[in-house]
């Protein structure tokens, strides 16, 4: 009798990378706790987006914000002394003074003398008096010299320095069709061109005149990044007004397009050729945060941290369980090339967490926005592409964090230490800079550039405008790094951890 020895139906090694992947995937999906962990992490992200606490601040009437010619949300509130301009023409003015009042931020309240940096007075040509319409303006500002600004987002510097009776500023706007050119001068004879704006669709019958605006006063205490502020008011004195077209009567209107003081505190007077105009509000892009209104779609991803902690724990255990159960001996016997084992594990952990993160972040962003809006919040609109970036970026943050946890598990070989290190390294910088900011602006910015928490920049959807005073802090959704650069920082940490893990895995006795 011939006995055929038993042969496994599995083919002989060495195994390819695909086999390793399959082996690791089998390990992952057959441990109930890990599968439950991934599902729980995904549910946490989706659930927190739908929680009833998701309400928004909305301090603008009707929860709507004017939209500028470029489609962006804008503030368009100022006092406008205007008359119609039909066709081409030029307006010239001399500014001799710009003063203001800012709120006293104590319980007694009231106002005190003071000028916000972007208080503005000057001349403007605007399509109409309705908020959000196209415009070009030459202005003197509180502490940024003469500027030419147009269509909310554009800002060109002119003569530097503050304005006074001894050092006045002459401003001129010249319209030719839909092109408006701005000039400035210190003496009214020597003129310099500041900039040229092309306002597409500027109607022949536009409004031209003088204006004053004074944006929200924002005070950041350097320490705790606690932010307070309130509406401010500014008064400009303008004389030597000359128009190249036959002038009519001046009309005064308070354009109410966001954030200014009520109409009773503003207005204008005219005496012996001098216009004194008091205005409040701003003509600029709308911003979120201390100086602004509304929330961003990142608000719907509050649960990212909950998911991240769970998924990082799963990622770490995926590695450390091998050591605890001595399975690592079997694994490394079957696949002696240790670096490839680590790579296979990283691919499986990364792919699983990315998929879970993608589904849950998509649910959170899509449904969470609806809930925020139905709860009366103003949500800054984000383009479809931006939303896809936020969703995919969040999934990538979760996946890369899980890979870092896995690598840390391979380095430390103890589950408890690996989970604690990953959670602390990601959460603590976030806590110190965003959630409970104890660090001042400067050091907080460096933590947000260098530590893994930089990756949360991938959730930002807002743009910082130099011509708007605001607290551009991470707590309000403004990160120092652009989205993908932030994610790259996290990836660099992952590469570092994986490299060290691969090195130690090969050097050490398993």
């Amino acid at each position: 009798m011939i006995v055929t020895p038993y042969r496994s139906r599995l083919r002989e090694g060495p195994y390819g990378f695909a086999d390793l992947l399959r082996a690791e995937w089998t390990k992952f999906r057959t441990v109930r706790g890990w599968v439950i962990g991934v599902i729980a992490g995904a549910l946490a992200i989706a659930a927190l987006a739908l929680a009833p606490a998701q309400q928004g601040s909305c301090n603008v009437a009707g929860c709507t914000v004017p939209v500028g010619p470029g489609g962006e949300e804008v503030s368009d509130g100022f006092y406008f002394v205007h008359q119609p301009l039909a066709g081409n023409g030029s307006i010239t003015v001399r500014v001799t003074s710009l003063t203001g009042q800012i709120p006293v931020l104590t319980q007694s309240g009231g106002m005190r003398a003071g000028l916000v940096p972007w208080a503005k007075t000057g001349i403007i040509i605007k399509a109409s008096t309705s908020p959000g319409s196209a415009y070009a303006a030459m202005m003197v500002t509180g502490s940024h010299g003469v500027r030419m600004q147009y269509d909310f987002t554009q800002d060109v510097p002119g003569l530097p320095g503050a304005v006074s009776a001894a050092s006045p500023r002459w401003l001129r706007l010249t319209r030719s069709g839909d092109t408006i050119t701005g000039y400035d001068s210190a003496d009214g004879t020597h003129w310099a061109r500041v900039g040229t704006a092309t306002l597409a669709g500027l109607p022949p019958a536009a409004q031209a005149g003088l204006f004053t605006a004074s944006p929200q006063y924002v005070q950041t205490s350097l320490g705790e990044a606690s932010i307070s502020g309130g509406p401010s008011v500014a008064t400009g004195a303008l004389d030597h007004v000359s128009l190249t077209w036959r002038s009519g009567a001046w009309a005064g209107d308070n354009v109410e397009g966001g954030g200014g003081l009520p109409a009773s505190t503003v207005g204008f007077s005219q005496a012996t050729g001098t216009f004194t105009i008091t205005g409040s509000g701003d003509i600029a892009p709308a911003v979120s945060g201390g100086g602004g209104v509304g929330v961003t779609i990142a608000q719907t991803l509050v649960g990212t941290f909950a998911g991240l902690i769970v998924l990082a724990a799963v990622g770490a255990m995926f590695m450390t369980a091998e050591y605890r159960r001595r399975l690592i001996h079997v694994t490394l016997t079957a696949a002696p090339r240790r670096g490839r084992v680590l790579a296979a594990k990283a691919v499986v952990a990364g792919a699983v967490t990315f998929a879970a993160g993608l589904v849950s972040a998509a649910i959170a962003v899509v449904l969470g926005q609806r809930i925020l809006r139905s709860n009366g919040a103003y949500v800054y609109p984000a383009s479809a592409l931006t939303q896809v970036r936020v969703i995919a970026g969040t999934a990538a943050v979760l996946a890369v964090a899980a890979v870092i946890a896995l690598a840390t598990g391979a380095i430390l070989r103890r589950g408890v230490a690996a989970v604690a290190v990953v959670v602390v390294v990601i959460v603590l910088p976030y806590l110190f800079t965003v959630a409970a900011p104890i660090l001042p602006y400067g050091p907080a910015g460096w933590l947000l550039r260098l530590t893994p928490v930089a990756a949360f920049a991938v959730q930002q959807t807002l743009v910082q405008y130099p011509q708007v005073s605001n607290t551009y802090t991470a707590a309000y959704g403004y990160y120092p790094l652009p989205p993908w650069a932030g994610l790259a920082v996290l990836c660099a940490w992952a590469a570092l951890a994986l490299g060290l893990a691969a090195f130690l895995l090969r050097r050490r006795d398993a």
Partner: protein, 276 residues
Amino acid sequence: MSSTPAPAARRADPWYADAGHALHAEWTKARTAGGTTWLLPAVIAATVAVGGAVATATRCPAAGCGQDPAKVSLSGIDLAQAVVAIQAVLMISGEYGTGMIQVTLTAMPRRTTMLAAKAAILTGLVMVAGTVAVLGSVLAGRLILPGHGFNPAHGYPLLSLADGTYLRAAAGSVLYLALIGLLALGIATAVRDSAAAIGAVLGLLYLFPVIAAAVSSPHWQRHLEQIAPMSAGLAIQATTGLNTLPINPWAGLGVLAAWTAGALLAGALLLRIRDA
């Protein structure tokens, strides 16, 4: 006539002897386990290093800068609590990981007594390490902060433990660490797996403040800060703006104590009714 004396029934040890043996056993384990020797120094190092770094980075350029110097100097507790949690989790989950728990429970069948002994030893160790850590942070704050604008000219008296409010913040931070240790011990007893336990503890501690900060409704934000173990517990560190705190300092520590009691009760109950 000879008689053999009847074997005396072995008298059960009174509870206090049991407790004494359990304490001795747990002390020996804690003293000789690898983790303790570096985790407790790590508590001290983490507290002083983070507190010193945050103090170095913070400036108070003018009066009324709204910054709390006690919170700044004691901010290292935010990190130290994670180390304390590791220590606590290892004390119980370490036994499940190695199977040591079988031996422990054979030698000490009264499971609640065993857990109480662990809790007592942990509390003692954390209190000692925490006291050294907090004193180190206080010293670092005293040396660094006055040079960064936290001085009487800006309305901040020099940090001194003779000041009742600051003493409360410092001593309260030590108590906070001890309560965090016990909370982690309770959770780890219930969860058993060390990685899952530390994930649960750190999630419970760190998630509340992160979520509270992101919630824009002030009403919900305040409630979250009142019930969160970390936010409420760390109210004990507040020395400025006391009338605007979501919860007053001792009540906040009380909230953390309630979480701890709940976790320990759940842990003890599961320990008794579950097979080890």
